[in-house]
């Protein structure tokens, strides 16, 4: 049986196509869009991806409106029941706004939007996306954001683990953190600024992101 995955779509999401394609092209995953107005049903999706973009224009704070959608309000119950959530870029911002992940994302230390390829170091396992064997691996993926400077007053390592660190920090984030992960009920929540879904195609010679999707299939199928 294939792993069921949903990509939540908000007005203003713009990495939704990329995420859907990256998931769909992974053997063993069956992916679909999920419109933000609909609640996320429990025990339906094993993977839920919140894609990048500018949900609702992000004219207030990035993710501040999206967190009020039916999809986001119903997400904790689905995760509790076993869904694994990955928020990428704007998705990470939305997860933080929803308080499903700690800390906050402030404007980049350079004050400007930054779009470039970065090297990410895998710091820990993160079921189902990363395995123990992946620890220490370096992944090449793009970043593209203006509010990606992750800060947190105090990190409770028992609860939240930094999964990715930048080799060269592009935005001034705390301890070079690029992504964090926590368990949540029977499921989990991971948020990251870089875009693994844009690095999932061998034709582009940029395919390190595939590791996440392939691991998920291996773990959940």
């Amino acid at each position: 049986m294939s792993v069921k995955a949903a990509v939540i779509r908000f007005p203003g999401s713009n990495c939704d196509h990329d995420a859907l394609r990256a998931l769909s092209e992974t053997q063993g995953i069956e992916a679909c869009y999920h419109w933000h107005e609909e609640k996320i049903p429990k025990n339906t999706y094993q993977l839920v991806v919140i894609p990048g973009g500018f949900s609702f224009g992000d004219y207030l704070r990035a993710g501040a409106i999206a967190k009020l959608s039916n999809a986001m309000l119903s997400l904790p119950d689905a995760v509790e029941a076993g869904a694994h959530v990955l928020g990428i870029c704007n998705g990470f911002q939305i997860l933080i706004e929803s308080r499903m992940l700690p800390g906050y994302l402030q404007v980049n230390s350079g004050l400007k939007f930054v779009s470039k390829l970065v090297d990410l170091r895998v710091e820990s396992a993160a079921y189902p996306w990363l395995r123990d064997e992946d620890r220490g691996a370096t992944l090449k993926v793009p970043v593209a954001h203006r509010f990606g400077n992750f800060q947190v007053p105090k990190i409770d390592l028992a609860e939240v683990s930094p999964v990715f660190r930048y080799e060269v920090n592009p935005n001034g984030s705390f301890q070079d953190i690029a992504g964090i992960y926590r368990k949540f009920g029977n499921g989990s929540v991971m948020g990251m600024m870089p875009h693994p879904e844009r690095a999932s195609f061998p034709a582009l010679r940029l395919a390190d992101g595939q590791r996440l999707w392939q691991n998920a299939v291996r773990a959940l199928r």
Binding site: P11, N14, C15, D18, D58, V114, A144, L204
Partner: protein
Amino acid sequence: MTTSEKDLARLAEAVGLTPVEWDFLKGQVGRLPSETEIQMIGVMWSEHCSYKSSKKFLKKLKTKAPAVLQGPGENAGLVAFDDRRALAFKVESHNHPSFVEPFQGAATGVGGILRDIFTMGARPIANGNYLRFGKLDLTKQRFLLDGVVSGIAHYGNCVGIPTVAGEVRTDSAYNGNILVNVFSLGVVDRKKVFKAGTATPGSSVMIWGAKTGRDGIHGASLLASADFSEENAGDGQKVRVQVGDPFKEKCLMEATLEAMTNLASDLIAIQDMGAAGLTCSTMEISYKSNVGMTIALEKVPAREPGMKPFELLLSESQERMLAVVKAGSEDKFKALLEKWGCEGETIGHTTAGDQLLMTFNGETVVNLPVQKVQDPPPFETPEPEAPSADEGRDLRPWTAPNEWDVLKAMLGVPSVATKRDIYQRYDSTVGGGTLLGPGHEAAVIWTGETPDEFCGVAFKGICNEQWSKIDPRGAMRANMLTSLRGLACAGARPLGYTDGVNLGNPKEPQTLWALDESIAGMNEVAEAYEIACVSGNVSLYNQTVVNDQKQNIPPTIFAVVVGKVDDVRKVRPSVFQKAGSEVWLLEALSAGNDDYPQGSLYERMIRGGLSGLPPFDIAAEKLVQDACLRGLEQDLFLSTRNISEGGMAVSLAKACFGVDPDREPWGFEGDLLKYQTRRETLLFGEGGGRVIVEIDPAKRSELMKLGMEMRISVKRLGSVTDKGVFQLKPWMSGSVTELFKEWSSVFK
């Protein structure tokens, strides 16, 4: 003349109509036009909308070629890409608005060009921008640069279209008139193309997207089509600049593309609302489809109460579309638009005949015979005339300063220096298809879809306005050949091009001469490559004040060439890949041993101007480009790089620097002692038909064989190292980091 006729004549003059046009209008309508009608026609017959000065020259453009599916005249041009898909693309200018309000001016420029693409039914997949500023040591120019870049980033990043290529150059001639040209490209199913000219009588007319406000009124007629100077570019003009909302655009784009898929058979015709908003879009659809239209203006969703009919008609509020849909299907469209947070309102219907009838609360305000008033009367343009030959060519004698110092100075020239600090502010990877982005010879986007899984699209556009200053025809030939060579370096074959024309005052014979000559230059290349111009834009009245005198900008024409890559796996980057590999020169047009580097940046630096253009030859270009394509197919190269501005020395240095600032630049060890060419020409000459390639030393004989087969010369230049030294024996040697610093400091 009665008093009211005098008042109307004064209004006609105020909206830019000439006395001849005013008389013509009265004749065509058969009565005195109303105030609102005069306002509308003022915009429709403006230079910006009617192309009245440039039209007869543009007609000479070669617009037919095997790949062309839609030439100039629609929202964007179309070329066949594969059996199933077509590419829609176009370049457009937003110069004057960007000078008045750089952030919104540039942002709405991006918005406008995106709408042109998705109105055709195409999903935009890549953007580019071609910018000109004045001297960057002026605070005002730095302000404009930052505003324009922020505006482009704000809009493009939010809509989620990757900005993957562009050009930034500076010249004091742009001090009072910067150029902001934006390009967009989309992919469309050949069977699902939508147009403006397909409306039928008895259908409903809907307005989609944002509400109509009071912004941008008279932008097209009084800002883009009149004499422009710094003094009149003050706050008074700011109301003529539109305000953009990229989130609205994104939603409108998704809604429109969804409607084109799910409600295709109910959607009859569609036109985006750009210049002159509702006026231009209603008249375009009526004119092209040969139908009439009846519109109730009070039904147009307005942003504020009390808007007058002429304001509704002339507003250039952004993110709006005019659609003609099957009667009875309106609610389906409304529901779909609502899902995306967009307004959808039925404002009228199409009729048989050609009358455009508009009422406002029951009162008729417009009643125009569209076919008769769409075009202005024949416009008297002066005879084109070449400028006097030796104007401004007081050149210093040739000297030969230290080569290392020259190279360093060149790397710090804005057009050569890295634009990294600019392009890192543009999202260049959204869409997940960017194979070669900014910093490479050409942009390449992977567009593979089963069954053609590995194909891609490439594009490149350059314009060396220093060449256009002295020889617009030769300049366009050289510019296009350079772009085509860039495509070949990226493994792409050309399909077509779009041209963004930026010129000075069309009332001057020299301006029209430059247009005529530029078109001739583009046609020469288009003929040779069997491609055509499929879309474009003309921006006139680009002038800057020098010593109290208005001076035209140099002719600046962006011919952006679009091509197809058959297999993206064969594409190689434009920067060196590894230490130990060899670097070779592919050359089809070698300079004579005693030739000076005419037409080069070097000549400009040494002599203060240019004595002519560098040598370019179409046949030689084709040889080297074919060799490039063949070599890539054979997996012969590790990287490829064009030789263009700054010559071979600059190309080698840039290939060492790479696109990733977090990595140490490569070194280069080269020996040029054996070459007979004059040293400054060998190092800095900009003659066409030359490319540098990086190969594995084991492939040397294969490369030589390629050279023989393709009848070009191949010469070994040296090797890539990781020693941090840039050396071209016997003339220069030094730290590559020192060069890198010069190259990186300009746009910080």
